[in-house]
């Protein structure tokens, strides 16, 4: 389908239920915020074209269900990811404490070739709420955790007001590109032809 060669960068957003994963994705891609998003069931993704050094990339951003119970689906959705975004709610300690679980679960299920250097980005969302008065996770604490996990880039965001969202995703895309370039050899451009001819001959048999 693509007439011009384009690279797909796959990004997975993870984090506890209700931290704002869907909102962040929609704010970045559609520049919209709604109070009425439904809890994500299963998974969905949005795409956005991004440009880097005269090259066009398609950023494919995957939004997944936040409840722990749905993690078994991860295998299907995480594979081939180029970057993983871990989101927590600065007003919820629990969602911050769970970042570690999400990170580990992702590494297990996506099993990237180089887990030590796989790019993560952490977002502390909902900084707008109550003018910051209901905040329970300090920026310092969050940054310390990110530093301990191999200097994960960290952003404080508000999906509602759009604060830092663009910046965060720029960074996400850049990191995805870095890891994506190493795997570029696996892009399916050349495999397609073989696959479709295989289908032809196989199809006639049955």
């Amino acid at each position: 389908m693509p007439s011009r060669r384009r690279t797909l960068l796959k990004v997975i957003i993870l984090g506890d239920s209700g931290v704002g994963k869907t909102s962040l994705m929609n704010q970045y891609v559609n520049k919209k915020f709604s109070n009425q998003y439904k809890a994500t069931i299963g998974a969905d993704f949005l795409t956005k074209e991004v440009q880097f050094e005269d090259r066009l990339f398609t950023l494919q951003i995957w939004d997944t269900a936040g409840q722990e119970r749905f993690q078994s689906l991860g295998v299907a959705f995480y594979r081939g990811a180029d970057c993983c975004v871990l989101v927590y709610d600065v007003n919820s300690m629990k969602s911050f404490e769970n970042l570690n679980n999400w990170r580990e679960e992702f590494l297990i299920q996506a099993s990237p070739s180089d887990p030590e250097n796989f790019p993560f980005v952490v977002l502390g969302n909902k900084v707008d709420i109550d003018g910051g008065n209901s905040r329970v996770v300090s920026e310092k604490k969050a940054r310390a955790w990110c530093a301990s996990k191999g200097n994960i880039p960290y952003f404080e965001t508000s999906a509602k007001e759009g604060t830092n969202v663009e910046e965060a995703f720029q960074c996400i895309a850049k990191n995805a590109l870095k890891s994506g370039e190493e795997e570029e050899i696996y892009l399916p451009d050349t495999i397609d032809v073989g696959a479709s001819s295989q289908q032809r001959t196989g199809g006639c048999e049955c």
Binding site: K38, A39, F70, Q199, R200, G202, G203, C204, C206
Partner: protein, 655 residues
């Protein structure tokens, strides 16, 4: 009745007519049995048997007799069965019926197996099962000849006797060992549908109280013994109607399968164009056009030249939907005590039309199993009052947790937080849940939290609020909604198990159903590594709640809850939707990601009535074969302990 039939047999009027009958494209042979003479090399008749009949209804005297032939053409063997022209054995069978059942040149490459049946009483018959898993109605050999039929086939095609059942002959040996295993597993069940006593016996059995001959699974239950065995038993008189309905779809399926194969081998569409030229008659069978969706049934149906009739043979896909059940009609289902006298008929009625808005409050309680059909007005009133106080008791368990207590009760706090996060994003666009400080939203929270105490092990899981929301909307009463939700969760609870096994078993069953009902699509998914069917996860988890608007969801649910044709109609709904978009999916070569996105974006664009009709047809079509695809205990089946309370009525005598 057997006497009448035998007497009929001696009447040779049909037989004489049959002498003029024959396929124009075939070389006509003389009337002697198994003539193989032929002047042209076009086709050679290697077997011919007259007075081979089918029984299209449950009445054995209503039958269509015809001539069965095996024709060798080129390298392939074809089977035809052409009914005799002229008067039928019954005036009720029209010429249209006859042409409907006509088997025109089915190549043996399309046939999976032949089941031989030689009962001690009555006629021998054979059931031809197609590769698609569908079966033609039994062919009764009034004058014998079944053995020769099989022997002749054996001379020309590869025929293997099934290891599972000596009466089953596999026609195509499968190249794929897995396929072979699966097919051998499915075969006994495949044929068990038709594997009934001869129709005369069936009729005497059916003189019991039942009045409805159209039900497929009416008193069927799953009988599991240590998970080892599962059998279904149908009312025997349903058999023939079932086969009839099945057959009505066979032609269509055969055609579609064929068209699919041809499309793949002749990508240029040459055949389909060539065929359309032949078909100049205006098409009066508008019912065959199922939808205005992407899937256009007539556009690409290349049929072999000698079987243009196929187009005429397709029947309605499922019955037309009916208006919803209204209160006046509802009252006819209740006796003076308030007992539902014929729950089967009620469920059937709702299956085809749903329930009127205002009546849902009353009827859903039955459908969900909160009220039993044999309960009375008085009994129900009593139950409601008992349940109300029971609900309050459970609710108080969490209501009485103090703030101090909650501080040391992490699990409770987390559960509550999760529920509170979800209820405020459940159906808020519906006026009922709209606005700040909406009391119905609070009610959702209370019920879900109470449920998580009622069933502490399962707790709360995302998706539950989606399932509860329409129930509360309909019931408008907290305790009543709670107990209806409890009843629903009896069946759908496993969807939310920690290990997700409930959903996984349904997705597995779905993959098996697609394999059975749309093999090319199955192959496509296999090729694209999509057989986990995760793209249908949302459909299954919350019963299409996010796929239809609020009103349509309620309509769909009440139809599903009737469990009228199958407890697993929702899986056939999945197949129906996938089939509807199959040409788009395959044509655009969707991979897993694209497919997931496509499926997610179908939300709000699915035609419910058309889908239900397709699902019904697919369900009937798959029959026992379909149910065999669904592992025992797959939600929304009730757990074994409950279903096993029904007794098995008629042991399958053959298997």
């Amino acid at each position: 009745m057997i006497e009448i039939d035998l007497h009929d047999l001696s009447d040779d009027a049909d037989y004489a007519d049959s002498m003029q009958q024959g396929s124009a494209s075939m070389t006509r042979s003389d009337s002697s049995n198994r003539s193989s003479s032929s002047e042209q090399v076009v086709a050679e008749i290697v077997y011919l048997k007259d007075n081979v009949a089918i029984h299209p209804t449950q009445h054995a005297w209503e039958r269509i007799r015809g001539r069965l032939k095996l024709i060798k053409q080129g390298g392939s063997l074809l089977m035809t069965w052409i009914p005799y022209e002229g008067q039928s054995s019954s005036a009720r069978l029209s010429e249209k019926d006859k042409s409907l059942y006509t088997i025109r040149a089915v190549p043996f490459s399309d046939i999976r197996s032949i089941r031989r049946h030689t009962p001690t009483l009555g006629w021998q018959y054979a059931i031809i099962v197609l590769s698609s898993g569908l079966a033609f109605p039994p062919l009764y050999f009034y004058n014998g000849g079944l053995k020769e039929f099989l022997a002749t086939i054996k001379q020309h095609v590869f025929l293997v006797r099934s290891a599972e059942d000596a009466n089953i002959f596999l026609v195509n040996d499968f190249q794929d060992p897995l396929q072979r295993t699966l097919s051998s597993l499915e075969l006994p069940r495949a044929v068990s549908v038709a594997n009934r006593p001869t129709s005369s016996v069936a009729r005497s059995e059916s003189s019991s109280s039942r009045t409805d001959g159209e039900a497929l699974d009416k008193n069927s239950t799953y009988i599991q013994q240590n998970g080892r065995q599962r059998q279904k038993h149908n009312d025997p008189r349903n058999l023939s109607i079932q086969v009839l309905e099945k057959f009505s779809l066979v032609t269509r399926f055969a055609r579609e399968t064929k068209s699919q194969l041809l499309r793949e081998s002749h990508g240029d569409g040459f055949i389909s164009n060539a065929m359309r030229k032949h078909d100049k008659k205006p098409n009066s069978y508008s019912f065959a056009v199922e939808s205005n969706d992407v899937h256009k049934p007539f556009e690409d149906i290349p049929v072999p030249a000698e079987s243009l009739e196929y187009d005429k043979l397709s029947l309605v896909w499922g019955k037309p939907r009916q208006p919803p059940l209204g209160s006046k009609e509802w009252s006819t289902f209740l006796d003076s005590e308030g007992t539902v006298t014929d729950s089967e008929a009620l469920r059937k009625r709702i299956f085809y039309g749903g329930v009127e808005k205002g009546l849902r409050k009353e009827v859903w309680r039955f459908l969900l199993g909160y009220h039993s059909y044999d309960s009375t007005f008085v009994g129900r009133k009593y139950l409601v009052s008992i349940r109300k106080s029971e609900y309050e008791t459970i609710k108080n368990q969490w209501k009485s947790i103090t703030k101090e207590q909650a501080k040391r009760f992490t699990k409770f706090r987390e559960r509550k937080a999760l529920i509170e996060k979800d209820v405020v994003r459940t159906d808020r666009s519906i006026p009922f849940y709209d606005g700040d400080d909406n009391s119905n939203v609070k009610c959702l929270r209370d019920i879900l939290l109470t449920y998580s105490f009622y069933n502490f092990d399962l707790g709360y899981c995302q998706g539950m609020s989606d399932l509860l929301s329409p129930i509360l909307y309909v019931m408008e009463d907290e305790p009543e909604s709670f107990w209806c939700f409890v009843a629903l969760m009896e069946r759908l609870g496993p969807n939310f198990n920690r290990d997700q096994n409930g959903v996984h078993s349904q997705l597995f069953a779905l993959s098996k159903l697609v394999e059975l009902l749309d093999n090319p699509l199955h192959n496509y998914f296999q090729q694209k590594d999509c057989l986990n069917y995760f793209f249908c996860f949302r459909w299954v988890l919350i019963q299409f709640k996010r796929e239809f608007d609020f009103e349509k969801t309620m309509r769909l649910w009440e139809v599903l809850w009737t469990h009228y044709l199958s407890e697993h109609l929702h899986l056939y709904v999945c197949v129906a939707i996938l089939r509807r978009y199959r040409s788009k999916i395959i044509g655009e070569e969707m991979d897993f990601d694209t497919l997931l996105k496509f499926i997610n974006e179908l939300s709000g664009h699915i035609n419910l009535d058309a889908t239900l009709r397709d699902a019904e047809a697919l369900c009937i079509c798959a029959g026992e074969n379909g149910e065999a695809c669904i592992p025992p205990g797959t939600p929304p089946s009730l757990p074994f302990e409950i279903t096993s309370m029904y007794n098995q009525q008629d042991d399958d005598d053959v298997l």
